[in-house]
């Protein structure tokens, strides 16, 4: 279906310091190919969320620049930039005073789309995230955590962005919901040919969903490998520390199956 893949993304010497001297992102340079699904993994405070938010300028870096398909993100007003980027984060941030349908259509409303067009798109998006059409008229509070996160994804996709940023998108969900939503998102990534950057602290999730896994520690990229390389333990010491646990768990689960 999709004619071409999502845009390439590049970081060039990006640095962010917080007041008090903490360096959250330390001179990161990085290229992400268009159409790839990249997981950014690290412990709390490693700088992975900060790095992600420099892309849609929820955080402005102190030094360096970020380009999307070669264009500097600082070249246009932040609201305009953000309307072309899908953004999903842990707390979802659904607007409690709007119905699910109004939440999903908010980006279209900002873009000046007519109500009829918005309604049609909401139905389409609800189907895309595998929610029944009648939830459109409900308030977010009436949904389960997993359903709310699906609505968050639908809202992020409403304006047909080619780049998706996800900050711990499954953080607050139970394992079963996590797994099904993860698969759904990977499916959407492939069908819509997006470029996706997902921040997570869960290495197993990263290895299962992403094409490429970046490990961050103390504001730097300390490992950059494919899931297969991580599985083989070829990605260096820092990556190995995170990858060893899920790999060992996978082996034990496999033994249980054979027993």
């Amino acid at each position: 279906m999709p004619e071409q893949s999502g845009p390439a993304l590049a970081f060039d010497g990006v640095t962010k310091r917080y007041p008090g001297g903490v360096v959250a992102v330390d001179d990161v340079s990085l290229a992400i190919a268009g159409g790839s699904f990249v997981a950014l993994v690290g412990t709390s405070g490693s700088g992975k969320s900060t790095l992600l938010k420099t892309v849609n300028r929820l955080i402005d870096p102190d030094a360096g620049r970020i380009t999307i398909a070669g264009a500097d993100v600082a070249a246009e007003p932040a609201p305009h930039l953000r309307r072309r980027i899908g953004y999903v984060f842990q707390n979802t941030g659904l607007f409690a005073h709007m119905t699910v349908g109004e939440n999903i259509a908010i980006g279209l409303r900002l873009a000046g789309a007519a109500p009829a067009e918005r309604r049609a798109r909401v139905d389409e998006l609800l189907a895309l995230v595998e929610l029944p059409g009648e939830v459109a008229n409900r308030l977010p509070d009436a949904l389960s955590g997993g359903q709310r996160q699906r609505v968050g994804v639908a809202r992020a996709l409403a304006t047909r962005p080619r780049l998706m940023l996800m900050d711990e998108p499954f953080g607050a969900l139970d394992p079963v919901t996590r797994a099904s939503l993860g698969e759904a998102i990977r499916g959407l990534h492939d069908r819509l040919a997006l470029t996706t950057v997902m921040v997570t602290h869960d290495m197993a999730e990263a290895m299962l969903l992403a094409d490429r896994v970046l490990v961050m520690a103390q504001g730097r990229i300390v490992a950059d490998a494919t899931p297969a390389a991580l599985m083989r333990g070829e990605a260096g010491a820092e990556a190995e520390a995170l990858a060893a646990v899920p790999r060992e768990q996978a082996h034990r689960l496999a033994r249980l199956e054979r027993a």
Partner: protein
Amino acid sequence: MTEAFARVPELLAAHVLLAFAALALGLAIALPLAVVSARRPAVARVTLGIASLVQTIPALALLALFYPLLLSLSALLGGAIPALGFLPALLALTLYALLPILRNGVTGLVGLDPAVIEAADGVGMTPWQKLRLVEAPLVAPVLMAGIRTAAVWTIGAATLSTTVGAASLGDLIFAGLQTQNWNLVLAGCIASAALAMAVDMLLASAEHGLRARRPWRAWASLALLGAALLVSVAPKLSPGADVVTVGAKGFSEQYILARLIGNRLETAGYRVRYREGLGSAVAFDALANGDIDVYVDYSGTLWTNQMQRTDVPPRAAIVAGVRDWARETRGVRTLGTLGFENAYAFAMREADAEKLEVRTLSDLSRVAPNLAFGTDVEFLERPEWRAVRDAYGLRFASQTPYHPTFMYRALASGRADVIPAFSSDGRIAADRLRVLADPKGAIPGYDALLLLAPARADDARFSAALAPLIGRIPVEAMREANYRVDRDAGKQSPAAAARWLAARIGLSEAAPAR
């Protein structure tokens, strides 16, 4: 009671107009301030600090403070700003309305879920879109609670605006308090409480509509409030007959004379409004500024307070001096004297005066250190008191101000031994008081003067309607009329006493009643 409620519609309309205008202005100021304060904690500390400080000032004092403030501002700008009436009341009430709106607005904005704000930014809202689409609707219920508080406070405090010459339901309360007409006080209280409750209920309904996502309900409530405002404004917009405002200070004689003047003007075809309960210092300026068209003041009051004179020439010289000064400096016309004097008359209980052998103020200075002095609220601040005190060396054991009516009660009950009574007061004879002579002539004459605002000074029809009152009211008639209002048993309203007085001096067809 019916008579007490007769003036409610007119005053209710003025009350609604004043309170709603203050609330609207308060909203216009507080809402942007709340948004800025929520974004910058340093600004919030300043704005909330100032708003809280304003709230600690008693409403009555806040209203009173705006009078000198506007007066000096007006002087700076060449007299363009009215220091009395609607404007000072509006400004004071607006300040009063700020705090609850500002506080709830800031609290609501600061307390919003950060995730929601991040989401609003994330979907690409501009700061204005974020405010309109996300922050405002989410804060609306909390904000509405603040607006309700502000509305109830403003409607309550608006009753005090009577003291700066703005018409409100407080006119009834103050007039009732002065004349001890509790029906009037009740009418004013019931009407303003009912107004406050009705507005609170409508705003509550609007708030409920917002919470329940039923915008029509919120709009219906606001539409009803808007309709109330329209009804209040309508009489002001209709080009009716020439409307005249008759002023009165806050005691019975003034209320009676205002009605007497008003009745004559109505007979002459004018539409008449009353602005009652004006402070002594405020009344003359109100006339000079055209806030009121006509009222009665006393030569000695203007001589000492407005002209700042300390010498005490004969009565006729004071009247002439005041007349020339008023005309030349403020354009106010003195139509003439009504024929009686309402001077300060130091009075004691007859039995006490007899026992202590006090006949004059000189005698009084001998025994004063053992006596309690009860006065009206303003006497101790007036230059006349300083003149008398210094001329006779008066020094009392205690000095207590009362409302004029309660001053007589204090004397009768023994809580005060000496009072500065009014020579036209019917209670001097009725309460068997001895009036002390003033051998040194320290107290000036207080001839009642009929004063016209500059705009009415050359209005022949206007002065013709009032001319028959000149020289027509002997002090005995005024005393009797005052006593009809002030006495405890068979108390009459000032309007009834005015009708009686008109008949007594031969200016009406009706026979003297009762």
